[in-house]
């Protein structure tokens, strides 16, 4: 057991993968000498050299495109997008190239690359550096999508992503980098694509992922104090989506809530709510409630930034009302 930050777990995953597999390379802005904007790749260039840790010009479309070409020709590139907010300029290379190459070419070749990036609020970074854009990726067939919430998952999901045959978008959360956990990295991890049940409770199921897991756990603890017990599901990967775990729990409990930091409309929470509503219809005693980001851009003002996304307070309050309804009924 060691104590590790989320950041160091990611770094260790990269270092371990690079040691094990010489075809793994890192490519992106400031990943080398600078060590990554959030320090994830710190000193890796010293350990693995500039041929494997490649600092690039500020050219996101071509960084992703170069990773695609590298992946098609025998490397296992980990491209870094400094902020997920920049994904807009890369969606052609990501969505039209990386995601579709295996398919368009009739299965001849895959694109085993990982696109590491980070998103979310929490640093007062404004409208273009605080978004949660995972829905764009989830809506694009051909792309896998991992979003670790815990230190252990930061390590294991990244290691697993680096063994997948298809492109994986790996979205970290900027507010989690300094989070610490005591972990045993030798323990068998959950398989890729499996959700984790972080807490068991018979009153409602809360489905979430990434940083919101911690807000949900916090809320669940507050709820427990008031006698409401929540099952909390951490999805870990949004593609593959482990709906079996969700279905089983929701059918058993009969009440569900989904929590996502992303903008509510047409976001990940919509997919989860739609799917629970359609597949668990006969078991639901109440509507599936979405707690998600407001349909607005993020402000630099700390008050407005915090107010734009779910927090433990809103989650707990909503859960209480949702379950209270049952008590009242």
């Amino acid at each position: 057991m060691i104590e590790l930050t989320y950041r160091d777990a990611l770094r260790k995953a990269l270092a371990d993968a690079m040691t094990e597999d010489p075809s793994v390379i890192l490519i992106g802005e400031e990943v080398g000498r600078y060590g990554g904007a959030y320090g994830v790749t710190k000193d890796l260039i010293r350990e693995f050299g500039p041929e494997r840790v490649i600092d690039t010009p500020i050219s996101e479309p071509s960084i992703v495109g170069a990773a695609v070409g590298a992946a098609m020709t025998g490397l296992r590139p980990v491209a870094e997008l400094m902020y997920v907010d920049f994904i807009g300029m890369t969606m052609d290379q990501l969505g039209n190239q990386a995601a579709k190459i295996r398919y368009m070419f009739g299965g001849q070749i895959g694109v085993p690359m990982v696109l590491r990036t980070q998103g979310g609020t929490g640093r007062s970074a404004g409208a273009q550096h605080s978004q949660s854009l995972e829905a764009y990726v989830m809506h694009t067939p051909g792309l896998r999508l991992a979003m670790p919430a815990t230190v252990a998952d930061a390590y294991h999901l990244l290691r697993q992503a680096l063994r997948r045959p298809d492109p994986v978008v790996f979205i970290e959360h900027k507010a989690l980098y300094t989070m610490k956990e005591t972990v045993d990295l030798d323990a068998e991890p959950l398989p890729w694509g499996r959700a984790a049940v972080r807490r068991e409770g018979g009153d409602l199921v809360i489905v979430t992922y990434s940083r919101q897991l911690h807000y949900v756990m916090d809320a669940a603890n507050r709820l427990a104090e008031q006698g409401v017990e929540a099952t909390v599901i951490d999805l870990r990967t949004l593609n593959p989506l482990d709906f079996d775990t969700i279905r089983e729990r929701v059918n058993a409990v009969g009440r569900a809530m989904v929590v996502s930091e992303g903008v509510m409309t047409a976001g990940v929470a919509a997919e989860l709510a739609a799917r629970i509503s359609e597949e668990c219809f006969d078991y639901l005693e109440d509507p599936v409630v979405r707690v998600a980001g407001e349909d607005i851009p993020i402000s630099v003002s700390v008050a407005l930034e915090t107010g734009s996304v779910p927090g433990p307070g809103l989650i707990a309050e909503t859960a209480l009302r949702l379950t209270g309804k049952r008590a009242a009924a």
Partner: protein, 352 residues
């Protein structure tokens, strides 16, 4: 249209005895005839759609650059890439079947004319996104260096792709890192209805490549030997760590795609443009230099015609891919296939 430049090469032709011109002629004729058959497939209603972009007029670019490549070299192409792939060794019947959206095609009917690829021949893929295949060669260049494979990776694209920012990003990276990469711009003077001088103020395209630090040349694409010569210099330069850029000037003989009759071009221009015929030029030169007699070349042409006729028969006889194959190859073979919408609906409705 002439697009001359200070570093335009005049072309040093090898002595007649070891000339590759007969081989180039055959390659170019095969491309020309293949493209004519693609047109026929369309007319017969057997192509998948009408997004068919013929490379007639551009045969020297395909044959000349291709001749400079080695077996381990890789490449990406654009939407007008049939000729390049043929020059690199593609089986025309499988190409035609792909253009017809048939199971027997290179990509089992999923890709079509604009998405043909073949890993065995180093073809990393054609692209329907203008400029979309360009950055991949930067990655292939990194790979070649990493594996010390000695491979060069070449991006083929049209003059229209010089409008795409990704080209400059990729050229900058290649120059910065000294990668074994060559950017080949097939300047057929048009991007759909837009003439090159309506798309950029400076049509000497190699100048911008040079400004990023690439070895850059512009050549006249009527003469396949000139193209091959420039390509050899640049490809071998790239292999030695000096990435290059080659603009090949030619003329798009026909419309942008099968349904375009080019109403935006005047007849005089088209007539003059079609005189810039690399196949005719090579033929004349072979005869003039005594490398081949008229009759020999006629025999080549007949041979090629028969080969290409067979591709149409093959395609017409070929079957559509099975519907279930739709869900295959979204992810790797060992991964579960995406669940069909019907299956999901079944589950929702079968809730009792």
């Amino acid at each position: 249209m002439t697009n001359t430049s200070p570093i335009e090469r005049t072309g040093e032709r090898p002595g007649a005895s070891n000339s590759r011109l007969p081989e180039f002629y055959r390659t170019m004729r095969r491309i020309r005839t293949f493209e004519e058959r693609v047109g026929e497939l369309f007319v017969r209603g057997q192509s998948a759609g009408s997004m068919l972009h013929l490379s007639i007029g551009e045969e020297a670019a395909a044959a000349g650059v291709s001749a400079a490549m080695r077996p381990q070299d890789t490449f990406t192409t654009h939407h007008r890439g049939h000729g390049i792939f043929l020059a690199r060794g593609a089986e025309p019947a499988r190409m035609m079947a792909e253009i017809g959206g048939k199971e027997a095609g290179y990509c089992h009917g999923k890709g079509g004319s604009m998405h043909i690829a073949d890993m065995g021949l180093g073809h990393l893929g054609a692209n329907a996104i203008v400029g979309g295949g360009i950055p991949a060669v930067v990655g292939a260049g990194l790979s070649a260096r990493h594996h010390a494979s000695g491979a060069v990776s070449i991006a083929f694209f049209g003059d229209g792709a010089t409008g795409q920012g990704v080209l400059y990003e990729s050229m900058n990276m290649a120059a910065l890192w000294g990668l074994p990469v060559v950017f080949v711009c097939i300047n057929n003077q048009y991007g759909m209805g837009t003439r090159i001088d309506q798309a950029t103020a400076n049509t000497a395209l190699h100048e911008r490549a040079a400004a990023f630090g690439l070895e850059a040349m512009s050549v006249d694409g009527i003469d396949v030997e000139v193209v091959a010569d420039a390509a050899r210099t640049l490809v071998e330069g790239a292999r030695a760590g000096r990435p290059g850029f080659l603009a090949i000037s030619c003329y798009r003989f026909y419309g942008h795609a099968r349904k375009d009759k080019s109403p935006y071009r005047d007849e005089a221009e088209e007539t003059a443009g079609r005189l810039r015929d690399p196949v005719g030029h090579a033929r004349a030169r072979l005869i003039e230099t005594g490398l081949a007699a008229q009759a020999e070349l006629d025999a080549v042409d007949a041979d090629v015609a028969a080969e290409m006729d067979a591709t149409i028969d093959f395609t017409i006889a070929a079957t559509e891919p099975p519907l279930a194959s739709m869900f295959r190859d979204v992810y790797a073979p060992d991964e579960p296939e995406p669940e069909p919408v019907r299956t999901r609906i079944d589950r929702v409705l079968a809730r009792d």
